[in-house]
Symmetry: none
Subunit: 226 residues, 2 copies
């Protein structure tokens, strides 16, 4: 995510708001606050936060009501909702989660733990992070999820081994890979192939892309340089 992550805190106790804001700000989050349930809904709409921390016991509308409302609105589909409460009874805990809350934390709250839990939730929310593996270098783009390379807007289709070899090198531009490293990474340790095989594949990549993005380091190996 490019823009800073936005978090809305809704609680009627100014002390709580202040201490949580302080910790979240310190970590680079953009924070907005609300002092009751109605304001929480207003701010949710205007601020469009990525995460909303809701005290259950608030004037005007309870955290439960706000949570239920937010969950009924499509634009808050992906918004994390963390419910805070002084009550530690099982029933409200379960109710909070059933209304669509992502976490339910009983007071007294350690700000560090709260922040830690929110971080854990955000981590889970980024499923594409590990999937999206796109390397870009100048006008060359290498996308492993699509198994394709795009150079100056033109897509070039590489064979499996060619692609894997290019991807390995391009993942660490400038770093020289020994022939042995390349063999074990791309071909695996079990397969036994000759040294010349690498040369041939390097040549094919150069030919297909039409650019010399792979540099030979004589007597050592190859590196991606573009």
């Amino acid at each position: 995510m490019e823009a800073p992550i936005k978090i809305l805190i809704a609680d009627d106790e100014p002390d709580i708001i202040e201490i949580i804001s302080f910790h979240l700000n310190k970590l680079g989050y953009e924070v907005a606050t609300a002092k009751d349930g109605s304001e929480a809904i207003e701010k949710a709409n205007s601020f469009a936060p990525d995460c909303i921390i809701l005290d259950v016991m608030m004037p005007k509308r309870t955290g439960f009501e706000v949570c239920e409302y937010l969950r009924s609105q499509k634009q808050f589909d992906k918004t994390l909702i963390v419910l805070l409460t002084a009550l530690n009874d099982e029933a409200s805990h379960i109710k909070g989660l059933e209304l669509g809350g992502d976490d339910f934390i009983s007071k007294p709250i350690s700000p560090k733990v709260l922040v830690s839990r929110i971080t854990a939730l955000f981590r889970r929310l980024q499923p594409t992070e590990s999937d999206k593996k796109i390397i870009t270098a100048g006008d060359l783009m290498i996308d492993i999820s699509q198994y394709k390379t795009v150079l100056k807007g033109v897509t070039h289709v590489l064979a499996k081994k060619e692609f894997e070899l290019l991807y390995l090198l391009a993942a660490q531009p400038g770093r020289v890979f020994l022939r042995g490293e390349i063999l074990s990474q791309v071909w695996g340790n079990d397969v036994i192939v000759g040294d010349r095989t690498i040369d041939v594949h390097v040549r094919k990549i150069r030919a297909k892309l039409g650019i010399d993005c792979i540099t030979t380091v004589k007597g050592v190996g190859y590196k991606f340089d573009y």
Copy 2:
């Protein structure tokens, strides 16, 4: 998900295992258990659970160690990890989450709350945006609620598996799906079918729609591209 959700419980106290298993089973989850850290890792590999509940204090390997190990393995990327502990100190709470845990719960645990929290975590894992029932790409429309595809205004009726395969690929256009992914998503992990089965279905889809919207990536898999 077609197949039942699998949960692994690791705790050295048989009572805890029994009561949690009971509740999870009742809700239709498939449950496996382990009595120490080493067994937890073994079972994680053989059982391939969607969620792992780890007691922190276990013989052989602690929950922290197991958690750290699992997070270092790529195949457990998407596996939920819930840590249980008798200690309620802030430091281990934060440590557990930083090691990659998705939730951290202090004992004594209410089984209902535990189950409720796990459900909340799973709910978040479900793709909300791609929950869209209708996929459109150019003049092709794929409607899962009616199980039909409309191309240039003409409705084409695909068989169940054909449709599910097309739907999976079309949900993420351009993304290459490995054969293994396709098998586990469309056919499920338990069913064993040959590789040719996928080819045949792809062929049927191409024939019925009359367009080549599925591209073969040799040695890798298939992708939707239109």
